[in-house]
């Protein structure tokens, strides 16, 4: 499964006479099969916009999203999304949230959908809580459900938009680990594109980190490979020279971006 972004351009019309804002200009990116790529950049530089273009929720003004040689046109369950604000359906139980998504994505295979819903809800440790509604569980549990939902539709690529940003540090660390385990398990989802603003999170999770810069020239600034072997141990990671190398590079790039913002 290969994802290619070809010269993606996206503009938003300004409200009430405000000038049109160019959020993405000629973005080129290739994500290879089995790769975990993190998108990092300052708030407002267009990370969510880019992810939504890949998801098909936004139409680019120029360029194309190509998935295994096919042009993407509109959203679809081959690109499951984990949204920042969880976005569970509030009147459905946790299990129903996962199951209904699986059923909608693959209407012909009812039995398998139910198995997948059970498997992934169990994998994120929520099987006992399956009958609860989203408002009855914590934010971390809601986001676990959203992750289970995304895996249960067996997407070819998983898209995550700052999925753990609203969670406390301990919960975030656990969910990062769970995400890695699901990704490396026998799940059919091998490719991940994840937006984050956390440098540690990006290094811990990704094979490659894509740094985005804001205007002027809203586009990709740099791509940094992460030379750390898996499985990665969070505690030992900071002793690796590779870790610090990547960290310093990211810091410099983001700090430079910050200046150009002002």
């Amino acid at each position: 499964m290969t994802l290619q972004l070809r010269t993606i351009t996206k503009r938003f019309d300004g409200r009430r006479g405000a000038p049109t804002q160019e959020v993405l200009r000629d973005v080129e990116l290739t994500v290879g099969s089995g790769e975990f790529v993190s998108l990092i950049g300052h708030s407002g530089c267009g990370k969510s916009t880019l992810l939504n273009v890949v998801a098909g929720l936004l139409e680019p003004d120029g360029g194309a999203v190509v998935l295994d040689g096919e042009m993407v046109d509109g959203p679809g369950p081959d690109r499951a999304v984990v949204f920042q604000n969880y976005s569970l359906l509030p009147r459905l139980s946790l299990l129903a949230n996962v199951r209904e998504a699986a059923r909608a994505a693959h209407p012909q295979r009812r039995r398998r959908n139910d198995e997948l819903a059970e498997r992934y809800l169990t994998a994120v440790g929520l099987w006992e809580h399956r009958d609860k509604r989203p408002h009855e569980v914590s934010g971390g549990m809601q986001q676990r459900t959203a992750v289970a939902r995304a895996f249960a539709v067996e997407p070819r690529i998983l898209l995550l938009d700052e999925p753990f940003g609203a969670l406390d540090a301990l919960t975030r660390a656990r969910l990062q680990l769970e995400l890695l385990e699901l990704w490396q398990s026998e799940s059919s989802t091998e490719t991940v594109l994840m937006v984050t603003h956390g440098i540690e999170e990006a290094i811990y999770l990704a094979d490659r980190i894509v740094v985005m810069g804001g205007p002027p020239g809203p586009s990709i600034v740099e791509e940094i490979p992460v030379p750390l072997a898996r499985p990665r141990n969070r505690a030992e990671l900071i002793d690796e020279p590779g870790y610090h190398h990547v960290y310093d590079q990211l810091m410099q790039l983001l700090a430079a971006e910050d200046v150009s913002f002002n």
Partner: protein
């Protein structure tokens, strides 16, 4: 599956004027409480009851003054006489001009339920339809805007001509009365689905049916209940007026008939009873709303 952005419409104004449904208050007292707490709560209860009585007393005082200046109007004591007479045999039936007040009320309630029920059957699906389809909304909106401000009583002649039956025409008027708030509030709810829920439906490719069932309906229920509540309130007001036109039976007919017979005590008694029934009907929807908000199904 592209719902329109937002609808400008809405009987929200009217909805806002209704008292907000009370938030679910814990009914059972907490086991370990400071002893002063329950005494204070009891005192508060007594005080609030006293002030409620005070309001009523003001009304009765005003009435007494007016009745004193205008001798045709019965005094509260005379009206109380009529009231006890009426409710002492509510269900007697000695011909069309002498039926118990309970029977008249039941007749009116029956008509309201029939008209209201029809309006629900038509209005909820129609509201969902125009709330989720931009084109349907554009087609329906002018018609709704044109007809909504018309007093439903204006539809009575149409009902008479088409149905050739005066009680049926009354039900038809109630149907029209109840229709607009249900349609408009349902459409408003259905057209204001949060973007993130729509995105979920798009990403996971919910079909039309699953979208309506899991996204549209759950989101729309509260505003539909508001619409039902408004509808029922107006319907119960309009039934009195329309039965004055249609004649023959019902509480509206009773009021008019009592007036013609010079029995103002009966008119006042009927006003009180109409008000009481209205309160009960309204409370049904308050309860429904609360149950849904608490996570129950409707």
């Amino acid at each position: 599956m592209t719902p329109p952005q937002t609808a400008s419409l809405v009987d929200r104004q009217a909805a806002d004027q209704l008292p907000a449904p009370p938030v679910l208050a814990p009914v059972a007292p907490a086991p370990e409480r400071a002893p002063g707490r329950s005494a204070r709560r009891a005192r508060e209860l007594v005080t609030s009851a006293l002030f409620s009585l005070l309001g009523m007393a003001c009304l009765v005082a005003l009435w007494t003054v007016v009745a004193w200046r205008s001798p045709d109007l019965p005094t509260p004591i005379e009206a109380w006489q009529s009231f006890t007479d009426l409710v002492s045999s509510p269900f007697h039936d000695s011909g069309p001009n002498d039926r118990g007040i309970g029977l008249q009320l039941l007749t009116s309630i029956g008509r309201v339920f029939r008209g209201f029920g029809l309006a629900v059957l038509v209005g909820v699906p129609f509201g969902l339809f125009i709330g989720t389809s931009k084109r349907a909304w554009q087609a329906a909106n002018p018609v709704i805007q044109l007809l909504r401000p018309v007093s439903p009583l204006a539809w009575f002649p149409i009902g008479l001509v088409v149905l050739k039956d005066s009680p049926q025409a009354a039900v038809f008027v109630i149907f029209i009365t109840a229709l607009w708030p249900i349609v408009i509030n349902t459409a408003a709810g259905a057209s204001s689905i949060p973007a993130d829920q729509r995105n979920v439906a798009r990403v996971f490719q919910f079909g039309r049916l699953a979208y309506v069932r899991h996204v549209v309906v759950p989101h729309t229920v509260p505003s539909t209940i508001t619409g039902l509540r408004l509808s029922m309130g107006v319907a119960w007001m309009v039934i009195v007026a329309v039965e004055m036109l249609s004649g023959g039976s019902g509480i509206g007919f009773f009021v008019w008939d009592s007036y013609n017979g010079g029995n103002l005590g009966n008119v006042i008694s009927a006003i009180v009873l109409i008000g009481l029934v209205g309160v009960v009907l309204d409370s049904v929807f308050v309860r429904l709303d609360r149950r849904y908000a608490a996570g129950g199904s409707v």
